[in-house]
Symmetry: C2
Subunit: 372 residues, 2 copies
């Protein structure tokens, strides 16, 4: 009896990226995925894990993260075994992170289907998510590099888009389409056109593929990087060889996002398929997005994040993130963003939320790394 | 040889009033007069003292303040003797505070000329200030209740105005006029008219009079209050009688501003004179005023108050008051007011600065007195 493709599925959670646009909430030592941004009571990483357990099982979720975050990640995910944690000595971007996990898993279990899901996105609608992943796994099993595109609910300018092509027939899956192309973040007029068109989906950065197929794509576009990943994977499961291999190979791997090394080239060759996801998704890229997420859809409201927040607001809207015990008073400020932490305070507006990253860069250059 | 009126002059500094509109900078235990609001490096109280020393001498300045502030006041004014400090067991407004000081001083030295100057105003132009006080002392010596009105430099809506009448001939004084009336804070159109008119001056709350004349005015409008003040003054300089008299009388004294008990009635009777003050004056009533004061007249600038402030601003204007060691980042906020203290944070705008008091009231009612 042939096993179901889902039985061969292993989830990968790349847990990297500080989330600079969420400074001073996100920090080098407390990156975005270690925060509760939804008031759920648990971190985004834990949310991601729990979302994937029903699909992959606790033993088949691999986390790729920085060495510095090992303890925090393990505290969040007690069921995560040593075999399923890949520690990066330094960040080398997503092709290296996901590619290494894929190479390790392929070596352990040839024919494995992997799916990569960011540790710091917010998703609701678990059943719809599961349905989309199952369809994507079916498409992956059929040989495609599969992604999940989110059906847009508004003309968002903060996301990239996936332009869908013809419907693809994949046994056991619904709503699979070829990908014509990936499109960068559009302006508002273009985003409106995409929304009306119906064939443009938000790129949620989810990739599902047979590990061997994914590695083939990397081999085709980035042969040196591929060689390094395979060599690393071969040394990985032997404690005597892993360390030296990591020291020798990892720092030299090319830093490139998987979108550019795999997704876009595969789309151009007609080997990329997209499944329509009807669940709610947000990458919570900045405080404007975080405000919206926590205003429960009501504009003009003040969202308050923080377990023991003491906020007094008088004609104020926007978001307050309270990570200190201080009383916070807001008077007559609209679409404001106030992030209050013990050593750093940010005051801006939704409109300027994207510029937080530039300020973080300025603080770094200005010698204020103590608060980054 | 008759002594000069200035030889009979004693300055009174009522150092009361929290300055609620400057919360959370001003607190019950750190009222406005104990802050450096100008970057001068010393408190407003100390500034006030130093401004009066050349006129009255260190031995002839009396400070009226709350019991809770005794230590702080004495630390600011080491030359202040016990005889020259009047401690209030609770606030009873300015007629009681200034009236008691006047009654004590009159009893010690009949015919004394007193002048009352708030502890928490900002003044620059010391010579012009001294000239105005000397003129006011001369007018007081001639029997007037004298005040100093500030020549307006703009159509301010945050101050009360003094409507000047006929020129009054006072030997040895220039620019003394009768006061027609006191006018409450005007709207902008009215303020513009006042500015153009030239006969309207800002009411800076300075009153200069012979103590006996001042007490006569209180006796006329508030006989019970006057009786209480005289009884208190008689008991004051005997350590065995002061305490019981304070306990018995002070809590029952009517709370009324000296503007209403003395200034307005005296003006109506033609007994109030005003001297034109050409010095710069500000009562720093709220953060909008504080911002303006510290922006050095350049609008669109960000004023930063705080000795060790770490502020990173990107397209921001207004004022930041830093009383913590935190990094403060402002991005794209105009006319903003950010006041950062260890236990409370305020974010508002210049436009809403007057409403800070309402928020303080709300915090009190809401059980957050710990931060007031």
């Amino acid at each position: 009896m042939p096993t179901s493709p889902l039985d061969r599925f292993t989830a990968i959670i790349p847990a990297g990226g500080v989330g600079s646009r969420l400074w001073p909430l996100s920090r080098a030592d407390a990156p975005k995925f270690l925060h509760d941004l939804t008031g759920s009571g648990q971190t985004l990483l834990r949310d991601t894990w729990e979302r994937l357990v029903p699909l992959a099982g606790e033993d088949r979720i691999m986390v790729v993260t920085g060495r510095a975050h090992r303890a925090a990640v393990e505290a969040q995910l007690p069921a995560l075994t040593d075999a399923n944690i890949v520690l990066e000595s330094e960040p080398r971007d997503s092709t290296a992170a996901i590619g290494l996990a894929a190479a390790i898993l392929e070596r352990r279990e040839p024919g494995v289907v992997i799916g990569s899901f960011a540790a710091d996105h917010v998703i609701s609608g678990d059943e719809l998510f599961q349905r989309a992943v199952k369809d994507a796994v079916a498409a992956a099993d059929a040989g495609y590099i599969a992604t999940i595109g989110i059906t847009p609910t508004e003309p968002a300018v903060g996301f990239g888009y996936i332009h869908c092509g013809e419907v693809v027939d994949v046994p056991g899956a619904h709503e699979v389409q070829a990908v014509r192309s990936f499109v960068e973040k559009p302006d508002l007029a273009t985003a409106k056109r995409y929304l009306d068109d119906g064939d443009y989906l938000w790129n949620a950065g989810m990739f599902i593929a047979r590990a061997d197929r994914l590695l083939e794509e990397i081999a085709r576009t980035k042969p040196e990087l591929h060689a390094g990943l395979v060599e690393l994977a071969e040394a990985w499961d032997d404690p005597s060889t892993r360390g030296p291999a990591v020291d020798r190979i990892w720092p030299k791997l090319e830093k490139i996002a998987i979108d550019y090394s795999v997704a876009e080239p595969a789309a151009a060759e007609g080997r990329l398929a997209v499944v329509r996801g009807h669940f709610q998704w947000d990458d919570v890229g900045d405080f404007a997005s975080l405000a919206k997420l926590n205003q429960a859809g009501r504009s003009g409201e003040l969202a308050i994040l923080g377990e023991h927040a003491r906020v007094l607001a008088d004609q104020a809207s926007g978001i307050v993130v309270s990570r200190s015990k201080r009383v916070i008073s807001l008077i007559g400020v609209q679409d404001i963003v106030v992030v209050d932490t013990p050593d750093a305070l940010l005051v801006t507006t939704s409109e300027h939320a994207q510029r937080v990253k530039a300020v973080v860069d300025a603080l770094r250059l200005g010698g204020s790394s103590d608060v980054l």
